[in-house]
């Protein structure tokens, strides 16, 4: 059984006098230990799809199941808290906290660790104790994204969802972040789903899902 099953999911929104369909009867499966990328033109509906699979919005047409259970049954708050970690393009760290505190906020809500666990997690992602205790404003973009990934992992989720995670990073840092996602998928068995415009990120994934803006369907490329 797939970790995440998308079944006949459609999504339309009002557009002028009519409605625009951006997801049309989408059927997809996401498995553990796999690194997925979702690519498509701007405005094609990638972010909408991401909000649905991240449990940030209700599915009105079709269903999304996690481990065979509909998200509506699990509860979106519980699903987000226990099973999903989110990474954003602009990091979205709480600006007045340190990296360590950002991770601990997520650990606190999921009740999955303590300060030592948070420091260890940050360490594994290349953020030492000194930097971990700095305000996130004083970290570089790459370091902030690592903290954001650490926060996404704080609740030990099965699914990591990232929205343009390398969009604000230089090439070298992007490579490092790709490496991190690959390790998370292949070494830790996470299901990593990344929405990206970057060909470099896409080409390093196990599976590329191309969203067609005209008909709202996905085309699947299996790379590895």
């Amino acid at each position: 059984m797939a970790l995440l099953e998308i079944e006949n999911v459609s999504f339309t929104y009002p557009d002028g006098e009519g409605y625009r369909t951006i997801l049309n009867q989408v059927n997809l499966e996401f498995n553990q230990g796999t690194f997925y990328t979702i690519v498509g033109a701007s405005g094609s509906g990638k972010t909408t799809f991401l909000t649905l699979i991240a449990g940030m919005d209700q599915v009105h047409d079709g269903s999304i199941r996690y481990n065979g259970k509909a998200l509506s049954e699990i509860g979106l708050w519980t699903y987000r808290r226990q099973h999903v970690g989110m990474v954003f393009q602009n990091f979205n760290l709480i600006p007045y906290m340190t990296g360590l505190e950002n991770v601990m906020v997520a650990m606190g809500i999921a009740k999955t660790g303590n300060k030592a666990t948070a420091l260890k997690l940050l360490e594994t992602l290349g953020i030492g104790a000194t930097k971990a205790k700095r305000s996130v404003r004083r970290l570089s973009g790459g370091e902030q994204q690592r903290v954001a990934i650490a926060r996404a992992l704080a609740n030990n989720p099965d699914i990591i969802i990232a929205d343009e995670p390398s969009g604000n990073l230089d090439g070298a840092t992007e490579t490092a972040i790709i490496g991190l996602f690959q390790r998370l998928a292949h070494d830790q068995g996470k299901c990593v789903i990344v929405v990206t415009h970057s060909e470099k990120v896409a080409s390093n994934a196990d599976v590329i899902l191309r969203l067609h803006p005209t008909d709202g369907t996905f085309e699947k490329d299996i790379l590895q």
């Binding site: 940030m56 808290r81 979205n92 007045y96 906290m97 809500i109 926060r151 704080a154 609740n155």
Partner: protein
């Protein structure tokens, strides 16, 4: 990480914004605190002075007649009776009237009057036409000793004497109850009380009190001041002279003296329904107001400032919190995205407000004390001097109970005590709770998707 911990970090790590917020909150809270301190000191002083002086409750109509101006119609004693027999009532001041009943002629008339004896009034007043000039036409004046001893003598006006058909040396019979009535807790009444007529006076002023004979359709004029003074009101409790107030008594501007200020409300609630419009309770008699007026004014100012400041504070705090939340829309989205529920965010906002509020209470509690002391002490001193200058107008029995300005100033001293701080904290909790209503609605309307916008 708990909501309180997050709130603490949020405040600590944004010192400029939160510093400005704290400053605004402290300023408004200081205003609140000083008004509260003045109000508490005023309440305490007022209550204490009311207890010392006694509480005079006037039951009076508030009616305005185009021709007569403010008028004071009479209230039937029967209606007043249950009120003045209340457990809180210690005495009653009144002007009143009685029906005289004459057995031979089967006639009765109403004699009305005042309680204040004033012999000088009899011969020296020239304030006509409102104050009648009276002339003794037979017999003699009352002596001071007769007034003081309450001897059973009476000075009648000419018209009353004519109606009763009596001359100097005759006796008049007052009372004559129609039924066997006894005032609760007082001496048993005797049916009649006889008074010797010692003099008859004349007063042609048509504006003196009216003698009415409602039962027989008769009426005349009676300039009755001295009649009432000596025969009935002074010293002789009308209950004890055998009159039957329940049937005959007509009371004008009764002033009830209560043993306990708290009794006023109980009394009002109990009897407000039996007193028909336009009668109502007025709480303080003028002599009490003469002393307590300055403090009362300060209390009124303090109440107004307190209410105004609370309203302004709610509006300002709401606005500030909303502005802060608008800036923190993304932060709230982050909390949503990592699985925090709305109640967790609301708890954090509440904790932030509570922390700032706690600091504000600490600072403003002290500042408010200082401001209240500076503001009110000088004012109260000046006003008490003014009040002192007016005290010659007060009756002796009130003057005897009056505290000195120094005593009042000591009573009024603004104190930093637990009740003040608790009350200030309570007001702040209510104010801040109300100020967070709109922000909380704002948070409830936010969605996890907001983070992506």
């Amino acid at each position: 990480m708990s909501a309180f911990h997050r709130a603490w970090l949020s405040i600590l790590r944004k010192p400029v914004k939160n510093g400005i917020l704290l400053l605004v909150v402290v300023l408004l809270t200081t205003l609140m605190a000083s008004a509260l301190a003045i109000k508490i000191a005023g309440d305490r002083t007022l209550l204490d002075l009311q207890r010392r002086i006694g509480v005079n409750v006037e039951i009076a109509p508030e009616r305005f007649d185009v021709m007569m101006g403010s008028v004071s119609p009479y209230i039937s004693y029967a209606r007043l009776e249950p009120i003045i027999n209340d457990e809180h009532v210690v005495s009653l001041d009144y002007s009143f009237g009685f029906h005289f009943y004459e057995e031979q002629t089967q006639s009765s008339f109403l004699l009305m009057g005042t309680q204040s004896p004033d012999l000088g009034y009899f011969s020296t007043s020239t304030y006509a036409p409102f104050t009648p000039i009276t002339n003794l036409i037979s017999g003699r004046m009352l002596t001071q000793s007769e007034i003081e001893n309450g001897d059973p003598v009476i000075l009648l006006d000419e018209s009353s004497a004519a109606i009763l058909n009596v001359a100097v040396g005759d006796t008049v019979r007052m009372g004559g109850s129609y039924e066997n009535w006894k005032a609760p807790g007082l001496d048993p009444f005797s049916a009649y009380f006889e008074l010797t007529v010692i003099g008859i006076y004349q007063n042609g002023n048509p504006l003196s009190d009216i003698v009415e004979l409602p039962a027989l359709g008769l009426q005349g004029f009676s300039s009755n001041k001295l009649v009432d003074t000596q025969a009935i009101a002074w010293r002789m409790n009308m209950r004890k002279v055998g009159l039957n107030p329940a049937i005959q008594g007509i009371v004008r501007n009764p002033i009830i003296v209560l043993d306990d200020f708290e009794g006023v409300n109980a009394l009002r609630e109990r009897y407000a329904k039996t007193l028909q419009t336009p009668y109502k309770f007025n709480f303080l008699s003028e002599q009490v107001l003469a002393v307590l007026g300055p403090i009362g004014t300060l209390r009124q100012i303090a109440n107004a400032v307190l209410s105004f400041t609370i309203a302004i504070s709610i509006a300002v705090f709401t606005l500030i919190i909303l502005l802060f939340l608008k800036e923190r829309r993304k932060e709230i989205g982050i909390y949503f995205a990592i699985g925090h529920q709305r109640r967790s965010i609301i708890a954090q906002i509440w904790a932030e407000v509570a922390i700032i509020g706690a600091f504000a209470i600490g600072l403003a509690g002290l500042a408010g004390q200082w401001a209240a002391t500076v503001f009110s002490n000088e004012l109260i001193r000046l006003q008490l001097i003014m009040a002192q200058s007016q005290k010659d107008t007060l009756p002796a029995h009130v003057l005897a109970k009056l505290p000195t300005p120094a005593e009042i100033a000591e009573l009024y001293a603004i104190r930093l005590d637990v009740s003040y701080l608790l009350l200030l904290a309570l007001i702040m909790v209510v104010t801040l709770s109300l100020a967070t209503v709109l922000p909380i609605i704002n948070i409830l309307r936010q969605s996890p998707k907001d983070i992506l916008q």
